[in-house]
Symmetry: C2
Subunit: 444 residues, 2 copies
């Protein structure tokens, strides 16, 4: 038996706002950040559990404080007991009646629960000597169903239905695992499309993306219609007619704005419109989906929990469901969402980018292919070539595909040097003059 | 010209879990708390702006940290400028692109924005020498519309429609103000109905409530059907056929559970069913509303923002809209919600209780009566007789009604001694042995 001896937290920030990487219609100058934790044990096996919440700068300290507010639930606890029943462990964290008031099940506290849950999964996978996708893909349908909190879901998905779906997919697991290892999992790239980039840079990066094997790129839109028409045309000219171009408005519009704006972009061939409006607006997304059809509506990176995804599916509000590894309450809740998507027959194309989101979310898509939906058809994982060098097991993306990680764990572990260098505000990167401009802006 | 010289924060907690006051099906042992701030200026007029977020214990430090994360937006700013255009000030806080990622517009960060916004309104009202309800009721329709962020609302309510409603209500303002001062605003009480109370205590408190002039009481339900039937019958026997009994499930049920459970309670005459399921479940509430009709569905204390309320109204998901002074982003967003309710013709019966929620929310109902909906018909403000003694201007509730406050401000200012005594964990109330049991439970 071993015990959790420490839950160490870190406020990690990267000064990305200096280059306008990650700039979009709602987020002009993000500093990509992570509220990060390491769960340590006395097992003496060298394994720690690593997890994080992705944020974009200010407020990362609030998210870190929220992780600390959960510490008492795991510190001093028996590790084997916590890891053996991750469904019960999830409920222990998510059902804290006092902390629940801060959500419930949304925002800062819910994402913090996700970070702790993901850190425990990282530890569990390392102890099992398996990458997370393979660990999950080897669990029985019964054990997978036991991970999910079906509260508030039963009008759309019951445990019995989930079990039946997982059992139906069980016979094909081995063949799909082999296919995954042989073919990889498709990716698409947002690298060309940030709003702060010039047209020349956009065209150059778009061509590079196609040369690298990507069959879909994505452009940020929503700040200026005139600019958007020109940028989408520039991208279409650069990539030719066969590469898919998705656009992402980052919640910029009201319902009618979205419908009107998309009518102007539709002639250039749009793969999907992402985050057209508030992520809270189920009925608004449904109205937009009707108004922009046949262009699919995509959303999810800011959809707060399984209850919202349930409604998005019930209302026909999205045709592309974008899970995020660090927005909801971790692996368990994302499994609930994958099951909901499978039940409704909607494709899942995860949101990634940021800090470590690619590393983390690939496991969920690969698990989904092997053990849940059983298909990669029309599905792909977002890829942005940022900050991977800070992770112990960075993603392997080449030829336009994600290649299944083989290292044990959930992909969430940052390099020790990164934790030291980018700690805010005391790490050398922030203390040094290099980020003077950013810090001045922050403290105005 | 004066300047904001300090934004002081306080983590205030009351050891209410010792008496099971406030216990319900989801919150067995709350310690009512407030993440509190005081905005101080160099004006030399003695006025500070006071605001808070209500929480139920653990995590209050996270909420306090979120308020601190907003400090840089107001510290050092020109007070008159901030207060003169509260619509612009709201956007300054709510549209911080980096902090927005932590919501967006929900949970810890959104409630913190509400606390800062409410503190500024408290300061503005004190400077005007008016209670907040009277300050708002004296503003022009144009100025009121300028307080509201209509983003994501335009498919349900446009600024032009809001302006027309406010203008239509303008001629009757003076008469309704006189009526309010003469008649008060109806209240109802939840004091008898906490789940932790015995049947005898329930019956005794219910009778007392009626004797005090209340025409509606509310009972917590949802933990045990058998107990609920007995408790509702006990209450009905105690109050007779003419007093209204509402029930509150505090999000305990799934959709079908709610419909089935309410079929058993319906024979005893139920004024409304409150929070039957997740506050995020617009479509679920709509299904429940159809399933339990003609019993009205009430919700709102955990509804995160105006976008969710918009959908609740669009979907017919609620028949009683329960605003809360400290859940959304302050006075401005609650005005948006009052306007939405008026547009849809749905009655507003605020959630209150907790710490200071009665003191704060009464201003909004009174403003609504004078300047927005123009009616008190079937409307009432929740009342719980807890912790009012900690406020500088506690509510005046007698004869079953709230009586309009005359003191300048928003009602949100706590006594200086309370801030000292109940500060967590260093205040004497927490340091002393009196709450040893509670602190032990917290730190396990």
């Amino acid at each position: 038996m071993s015990v959790i001896t420490a839950v160490d937290t870190f406020d990690i920030r990267f000064p990305t706002s200096q280059d306008l990487d990650g700039s979009d219609a709602m987020n002009p100058d993000p500093d990509y950040s992570a509220a990060y934790l390491i769960i340590r044990t006395d097992a003496g096996d060298g394994h720690g559990g690593h997890g994080f919440v992705f944020t974009i700068g200010r407020g990362n300290e609030v998210e870190t404080a929220a992780i600390e507010a959960l510490r008492h639930h795991v510190l001093g606890r028996n590790v084997e007991e916590l890891l053996a029943d991750m469904g019960a462990t999830w409920k222990l964290l998510a059902h804290d009646s006092q902390l629940r008031w801060l959500g419930p099940e949304k925002g800062v506290i819910h994402m913090a629960i996700g970070a702790v849950v993901n850190a425990l999964w990282d530890l569990k996978a390392k102890r099992a000597g398996l990458p997370l996708w393979e660990l999950l893909s080897g669990m029985s349908p019964e054990d997978l169903v036991a991970l999910v909190d079906f509260r508030y879901l039963s009008d759309a998905l019951t445990p019995e239905e989930a079990l039946a779906m997982l059992r139906a997919a069980e016979p094909g697991r081995e063949a799909r695992k082999a296919a995954l290892l042989a073919e990889g999992y498709p990716g698409y790239t947002t690298t060309p499309g940030w709003l702060g980039y010039s047209d020349d840079k956009l065209a150059r990066l778009a061509k590079e993306a196609v040369a690298e094997g990507f069959t879909q790129i994505k452009l940020k839109v929503g700040a200026s219609l005139e600019d958007d028409i020109r940028r989408v045309r520039t991208a279409r000219d650069a990539v030719g007619p066969d590469v898919r171009i998705a656009v992402d408005a980052n919640q910029r519009w009201d319902v009618q704005d979205a419908i009107d704006w998309m009518a102007h972009l539709a002639p250039y061939g749009i793969a999907w419109i992402e985050e057209p409006t508030s992520p809270d607006d189920v009925l608004g997304h449904a109205a937009i989906a009707r108004g922009v059809a046949p262009i699919p509506v995509a959303t999810g990176e800011h959809v707060q929990n399984r209850v919202m995804f349930k409604q998005m599916l019930q209302a026909g509000a999205l045709q592309v469901l974008q899970i995020d590894a660090a927005r909801v309450a971790g692996v368990n809740e994302n499994i609930a969402i994958l099951l909901l998507a499978a039940k409704f027959g909607v494709r899942v194309c995860p949101h990634a980018g940021g800090v470590g989101l690619c590393e983390a979310v690939q496991h969920l898509s690969m698990f989904d292919f092997v053990a849940v939906s059983g298909t990669k058809e029309d599905r792909m994982i977002e890829f942005v070539d940022h900050l991977h060098e800070h992770f112990v097991t960075p993603v392997d993306v080449h030829g336009g595909s994600y290649w299944p990680p083989s290292a044990p764990g959930a992909g969430t572990e940052m390099l020790r040097e990164t934790l030291a260098d980018y700690s805010y505000p005391e790490g050398p990167v922030w203390a040094a003059g290099a980020v003077l401009e950013t810090t001045r802006k922050e403290s105005r």
